[in-house]
Every structure is written in C-alpha cells, then in structure tokens.
C-alpha cells in the first residue's frame, strides 16, 4: 500500500509500442519448487486422487480379485450404509459418539485454557505444573482405559474421562507454549501505555495468542476423535466404535468400512468448520 497523500498519475507513464521481439519459451512452471498453480488445476488434481482410489478399489472388488470378505465392493458399502441408518439406528450411534467427544473435549478446554494461559504467563505456575503435565502427557490414554473402566464403569462418564485425559494435557502444554511466545515488544509497548501486570493478560496476551490457541484446539480435537473410537471399541453400549466392533463379530466388513468413513467425514467437517471460524474471527492474523 502507498504512503498517504502520494498521488500517482497513471497517464504520465509513457506507453511503449509492442516490439517484435522473439519470446523465449516459458519454462514449465509446475515443476518450479513452491510455485503456485492455478485453482482449477489444483482442484482437478485433488478430485482425481479420490477418483483414482475409487477406480482401483472398484477394479479389485468387482472383478473379485479380492475376496469380498476382506474388501467389499463400493455398492456393498452403500447397501450397508442404507441398512445401518434405516434398520440399525446408526444415527443414534453417531450422535452418541459426537456428544461424548464434545462433552469431554469441552471440559478439557474449559479447565485447560485458563491453566495453559497461567503456565505460559507466570514462571511460578509453570515451575509447579509443567513437569507433572509433561510426564502425564506421555502416558498413552488408551492404556488408561482398563483403569477407567475399573474406576468409573463403561457408561458415559468413562468415555468422557478418556476424551478429557486424552486432550487435556496436550491442550494445556501447547496453549502454554503459544502464550509464552507472545512477542515481548507487545508486552513492553503495553507497559509503557500504562498496562498493569494483570490487565496485560486480558488486553495483550490473550488476543495475541488467540489465533494460535484456535489452531491448537482444531488439532487436539482431531486427536480426540481417535481416542473416542478406541474407548468405544473396548466397551460401549453405543457409538460408532461399538458398531464397528459388533460388525467385526458378525463379519460385516462393509459395515466396518462405512463406520471408518463416517469417522473420517466427521473429523473433516469439524476441522473445516473450525478453520473457517478461526479465519473469520481473526482475520487480522491472515494477511490482507
């Protein structure tokens, strides 16, 4: 953008006549590292990768090269989807899984956000919490599941506990790092503008770290989807994971595959929605 009050008079630029120079042949630009490509090309390449998978899959299954027990045909999967939704109440299972993820994750966020901010801001808080949290973070949450079943049972609270433990510690540590990376110049500027030690958290640290915190939320929520399936696979009265494990017992491979696809789609929707919301809310952080 220009400095203000500098008028550029476009008509003053002399126009040169096109000269009969020989044009050198352009290099093939899509082989130039990091060179941008057109939107159209990008989109068609993205779509073609899905089509390719579908083609290979169809080729392997409709020709019966692969036993349908191991890999059913796309049509089988569609049949399964219809039966699952119309006869087996799959929608209820999906809702059960979604609500577990959201309750568990929300709890982790409600407690983890303030704690992460405090750890990232005050060294005394960091010294007290950080080592313990780092330690617990490396304990895989799936290993806790038998213990949780013993303590809490197999009902909803146990599922929520798995999501909570799986996301809480990562959330806290990553938020703390993000908050600790807020640029010092911003804090110093705020102090010389009369901010107090506590006022600065609300007026500088929080807004500066917010886009990063949203990115972290998006990432950890993605992990939470995998934890819930693990928890449901082990013991659950309902949920997508429950449907998958039941289908295994009855050797309904197409149900399993459809269940996995649904998990993927749900995760993708979550991701895209959060991404769009972040860009809308924090447009100042994303270019012009």
């Amino acid at each position: 953008m220009q400095e203000p009050k500098t008028a550029v008079n476009d008509t003053s630029i002399p126009m040169y006549k096109e000269q009969n120079k020989k044009e050198t042949k352009r290099r093939i630009s899509w082989l130039q590292p990091q060179k941008a490509i057109s939107k159209k090309l990008y989109l068609s390449l993205s779509v073609s990768s899905f089509i390719l998978i579908l083609l290979v899959w169809s080729g392997l299954t409709y020709t019966q090269i692969v036993d349908p027990l191991f890999l059913p045909t796309p049509t089988d999967i569609i049949h399964s989807a219809v039966t699952l939704f119309t006869e087996l109440g799959f929608a209820t299972d999906i809702l059960a899984t979604i609500s577990r993820v959201f309750v568990g994750f929300l709890l982790a966020l409600i407690i983890g956000l303030p704690l992460g901010i405090l750890i990232g801001t005050f060294k005394v808080v960091e010294a007290f919490f950080e080592p313990v949290i780092s330690f617990v973070r490396y304990m895989p949450v799936s290993a806790f599941i038998p213990l949780f079943i013993l303590w809490i049972g197999v009902e909803e609270p146990e599922k929520i506990a798995v999501i909570f433990v799986g996301s809480f510690f990562s959330l806290v540590l990553m938020i703390a790092v993000e908050v600790g990376n807020v640029r010092k110049e911003l804090l110093e500027a705020a102090y010389t503008l009369g901010s107090t030690n506590f006022g600065i958290i609300k007026s500088v640290i929080l807004p500066a770290a917010m886009p990063g915190i949203m990115e972290i939320t998006r990432l950890v929520l993605g992990w939470a989807w995998t934890y819930i399936i693990v928890a449901e696979l082990i013991a659950a009265p309902s949920g997508i994971g429950h449907v998958i494990i039941e289908s295994q017992r009855m050797i309904r491979t197409s149900n399993i595959i459809f269940g996995i696809i649904v998990i993927g789609i749900l995760g993708l929707i979550c991701d895209v929605v959060l991404k769009i919301v972040t860009r809308k809310l924090f447009s100042w952080n994303y270019g012009r």
Binding site: E3, P4, E185, A189, Y191, L193, S203, V204, N285
Partner: protein, 262 residues
C-alpha cells in the same frame, strides 16, 4: 530552570560467565522541550540506556529522576516508540492509538476525539479502521508515534524508530516528527546510529563511545527551526556532520578491534 529528566551515574552490567559492562557512568539532564538525540555505534549500549529510562530494564547502579520523582519500572508517563513490530495486530489503527487512553479508563467518545486528532496529526486520515498488517512500514511507525503521543507522556522515548525504513520514507518521517515536536512542544529522547538523522532532528546530540558506552561528546545543534531537508546541505550542518562522522568512525573501529580480539 530545573531539568525534566535527570540521569545520574547510570551503570549497567550484564551478569554472566564474565560480567559485561554495557553502560558506564552516564550523567546528563534533559530539559523541558528538548529534543535530544543519542548517537552511537552499534552495540554501544544506547538502546539499553533508553530502555532504562523507559523502565523496561533496570540499571545496575545510579538513578533516573522525572522531576523530583525517582523512576522505577515502566509507566505511561514515558511513551515509547520501538524500532518495529510493536503495534497490536488485532486492533484497528484507532484502537491501537486509544490503547493507553483505555487503560486510563477514559470514556469512548473522548478517546475517539483524541485518536482522531492524532491520526490527523500523523497524516493517516481514512485509515482509522485498517489493521496494522494492511499498512506499510512507514505508516506503522506513524501509528506507533501517534499511539505514544495520544497518552500525553512527559517524555517521548524513541529507539531507532526509522531504522527499518527505506531512505525516502525515513526522510519524510524525520520531517513529520520534527513538525510534531515543533507543534506540540514535547520532550524527546531519540536513539540512532545515523549521523545525519541525529543532527537533523536534535536540538542536542549526545555521542556515545563504543562498549562500555559513555558520553563522549555533548553538542548543541544551533540550526534554526522549522527545519526541512534543505538544512542537510547547509554548510553549518555539513561541518557538524563531518565532525560527528569522524567521532563515530573512531568508535566503530574500536568496537571492531574489540570483536577481533575476542
């Protein structure tokens, strides 16, 4: 007349494996409405000195007074303009400028009135609702200056604020700052390593030695105001410039020698 700011026997030692004396026994006064530029080679501790006056760093020994009051820690009575990247990117230009006023608990309407007048002063009318990442480097520094001034500080501290700008923009910004100083009767302490900038802006230039930084010379600049860039070709200006260039060169060479000896 009583000095506005008194800097008394300031020393700064950085503790480490071997202690480094960065700033050595500096004494000077800043009078009301003075525009002091501090000129020194890079690494001489001039920024450290400014940051101590701003309260962002603590001196190892010595005292700094604002009037009769000893200064401890940062406060809104000393406004600061940093080299770059100090605007709040999530706030619009006008909200950036109102930041300090909001800290004071001022009402919205009054804040708006003040920010409007400073946006006008730095020539950014029409950019009130823009965000910092929509502005060029020069415009960002205009906002930073307006933000510091809007708080009406006792003294304005500037730490090489135009160092990252191209030379044309830099000249425009120097004239803008001089113009503001002439209009608003502010007291200013300005750090630079650019000889021309120091003379052009300053009513007084303090030259610092290489590390450990001491005051080597204290020169009043008797060039008349209002100054425009034409003054840079004035024989009196060139004479001072030659002299200071020589001084800074000596110090820079010393600094390089010190580096080499390490």
């Amino acid at each position: 007349m009583k000095p506005k700011v008194t800097i008394q026997n300031i020393q700064k030692v950085y503790k480490g494996k071997t202690d480094v004396l960065a700033v050595d026994t500096i004494n000077f006064n800043i009078m009301e409405n003075e525009f002091i530029t501090i000129l020194g080679p890079s690494g001489c501790g001039k920024s450290t000195l400014l940051r101590m006056v701003g309260g962002l760093e603590e001196q190892t020994s010595g005292h700094i007074y604002l009037g009769d009051q000893e200064l401890v820690g940062p406060s809104s009575n000393r406004g600061m303009v940093f080299q770059a990247y100090s605007l709040f990117p999530w706030l619009t230009i006008e909200k950036n400028i109102q930041f300090g006023l909001k800290n004071k608990g001022m009402k919205e309407a009054e804040r708006k009135e003040i920010s409007d007048s400073y946006i006008e002063l730095v020539g950014l009318k029409g950019f009130e609702k823009h965000y910092p990442n929509q502005l060029s480097g020069g415009m960002k520094q205009r906002v930073a200056i307006a933000r510091a001034l809007a708080n009406d500080p006792e003294i304005l501290l500037l730490d090489e604020p135009f160092g990252a700008l191209d030379s044309q923009t830099r000249l425009i910004m120097q004239e803008l700052l001089l113009n503001i100083w002439e209009k608003k009767k502010k007291t200013i302490l300005f750090i630079t390593h650019d000889v021309e900038e120091a003379i052009f802006l300053g009513s007084r230039v303090l030259v610092m030695t290489s590390r450990p930084g001491k005051i080597k010379e204290d020169i009043s600049i008797e060039l008349s105001h209002p100054r425009t860039y034409h003054v840079k070709s004035d024989p009196a200006f060139i004479k001072i410039k030659d002299h200071l260039t020589e001084l800074i060169r000596e110090e820079s060479l010393k600094a390089i020698e010190l580096e080499v000896q390490k």
